[in-house]
Amino acid sequence: MSEVFHFLGQNIEAIYILALSIFLGIEVISNVPAVLHTPLMSGANAIHGVVIIGAIIVMGEADPQNYLALALGFIAVILGTLNVVGGFVVTDRMLEMFKKKEKK
């Protein structure tokens, strides 16, 4: 039990962020019209591509002699980048179409 408290105490800042972000996420989304469900999902999809930062850190700390770690890290960087770039570009393409019409 004391380990649990120790862990919570050590990470109390992260836990604050976690709790507040949960509520923020719910608030931010709540009034979205059905039209935007798909683009919003796609945009959120791009945002969790932030995991790429973890991939960069893993890769950056990998021992250049450890080929397994290098290979895993390299694949992680590629996949993470796919998530970010593909995610944002697809979302932009979806939203482009709403934009066009507004100019008229």
Binding site: T38, M41, N45, E61, L70, V77, L79, N83, K100
Partner: protein, 471 residues
């Protein structure tokens, strides 16, 4: 170094704010596109700041830079080309694919981190928060990756729905085994990397079995759910590195994604549990068997249909996935303009889950420059059908199936539908008599006031426009 660390923290803060602002702006039509760009800018900033400013606990900067840049460039080129080339009809599976990539990335990070952790801390027990975060990252990332790939395959039409006997029980059992192995691993004093691989493989298997029995029509909901899973996996990575940008970004997507999933379910008038547990495709056999007794279908000629529309007061178009497949959005808009010139009021009735995703039809019609105010949501459209002369159903099926209202045995029973049968005449443009995506027959086609116009939606509409101009 002190300065660069503070700068990095500030940039992560900016990135986190850009994600929040981006999501907020994405939920309003006017600001959506800029919201996406802002979030993208924040992400780019965070990526480059990590590469150039990050130092680990020992103060070493990011190494292996050539490989990192190679990976970034390769990922950017592939991702950009895929996202630009994908057809509007295939957007949903594209989102699923990219989501899977994020999940796999999170799982790989955790795998790597475990190897490193056990090398450096072999004397300690594994019962701590760090290992827990690693395990959760691997499990959720793997489930998200495998599930997204299955969802991708289903939407591409390459994977059919399978329901194994006692599948629900098996799934629950598998989940218990995975969690049990995770707990067992944490009680060990040294890192058993083989055990971790087993957990990874089982999690992948769970992802496959989790999505496999869920019907294709429910894939949007599943993708949205897996999307929030990946968000969680990213957040666990953030915990590992004490990285606040990953933490906020991940959790934000996790909670927003969950709410979005629930909103999507509400649009179909079903609960999330019903979507996940009630295997959709399973019961379709019985419903199809009854079809022969439903009556006779009546076809309509192009000429008759054109005349019908020309002299109508109001025409409502109900678009569905068939319209997207046939790429008929532009010709539909032309058809609408010709009728409007002749004083016919033309509207579009959009069912919340028409197409393969919520909002799919709006995006498609917007591409063809259809005016925003012509698109009616289901609640606006339903009272209008009574006073509508012609309803043109273009490639839609399940969303106009009356079985959803009055046949409790139907798998789509309870889903709100567009009440097109209340109008004077319904014309259904359809390739053939095949069942809709949910795999069930549609009694609407046999109604007295329904006429069928068989053929490819695009060429049928082209011919209709030609006929109209001759009148």
């Amino acid at each position: 170094m002190e300065l660069s660390q503070n700068l990095l923290h500030i940039i992560y803060l900016l990135a986190s704010l850009s994600f929040i602002l981006g999501l907020k702006m994405l939920s309003h039509p006017k600001t959506a596109r800029n919201g996406n760009l802002i979030a993208g800018a924040g992400m780019t900033l965070a990526i480059f700041a990590t590469i150039f400013l990050y130092h680990n606990a020992e103060g070493a900067p990011v190494g292996n830079l050539p490989l990192i840049f190679l990976g970034l460039i390769a990922g950017t080129i592939i991702g950009y080309i895929m996202a630009k080339r994908v057809k509007m009809t295939s957007m949903p599976q594209m989102v699923s694919f990219f989501n899977g990539m994020g999940g796999a990335c999170a799982a790989l990070i955790s795998l790597n981190e475990f190897g490193k952790y056990t090398q450096n801390n072999y004397a300690e027990t594994l019962l701590n928060g760090h290992v827990l975060m690693i395990l959760l990252g691997i499990m959720i990332g793997s489930v998200s990756f495998a599930g997204s790939m299955i969802a991708f395959g289903k939407l591409e039409g390459k994977i059919k729905d399978y329901v194994l006997p006692r599948q629900q029980l098996f799934n629950v059992l598998l989940l218990v085994i995975i969690l049990g192995l995770g707990a067992y691993l944490m009680l060990q004093t040294e890192g058993k990397i083989v055990l971790l691989y087993v957990i990874t493989l089982l999690s992948l298997l769970y992802g496959v079995l989790f999505v496999l029995p869920i019907g294709g029509a429910d894939m949007p909901v599943v993708i949205s759910l897996l999307n929030s899973f990946t968000g969680l996996a990213a957040a666990f990575g953030g915990f590992l590195y004490g990285n606040r940008a990953m933490l906020t970004g991940g959790i934000l997507v996790g909670s927003a994604g969950t709410i979005l999933t629930i909103l999507m379910c509400q649009a179909m008038n079903r609960s999330l549990l019903n979507v996940l547990v009630g295997a959709f495709g399973g019961q379709s056999g019985q419903a199809a068997a009854q079809s022969s007794e439903m009556g006779v279908i009546k076809e309509i000629s192009l000429n008759d249909c054109a005349i019908l529309c020309n002299y109508a007061q109001r025409v409502i178009v109900v678009p569905g996935y068939g319209l997207a497949v046939a790429q008929a959005q532009h010709i539909t808009h032309e058809f609408e303009s010709v009728l409007e010139e002749r004083g016919v009021e033309v509207k579009y009735a959009i069912h919340p889950v028409a197409g393969r995703m919520p909002g799919h039809m709006n995006v498609l019609l917007a591409e063809a420059d259809v005016a925003y105010d012509k698109l009616l949501e289901m609640e606006e459209a339903n009272p209008l059908f009574k006073n509508t002369d012609v309803v043109l159903v273009i490639g839609a099926n399940d969303v106009v199936n009356p079985a959803a209202k009055d046949d409790p045995t139907s798998p789509i029973y309870g889903m709100p539908i567009l009440d097109v049968d209340e109008s004077k005449t319904v014309v259904v443009l359809k390739r053939g008599m095949s069942a809709g995506y949910a795999g069930i027959e549609n009694r609407l086609f046999f109604n007295d006031n329904t006429r069928m116009l068989f053929g490819d939606a695009k060429s049928s509409l082209e011919k209709l426009v030609k006929e109209l101009k001759n009148i």
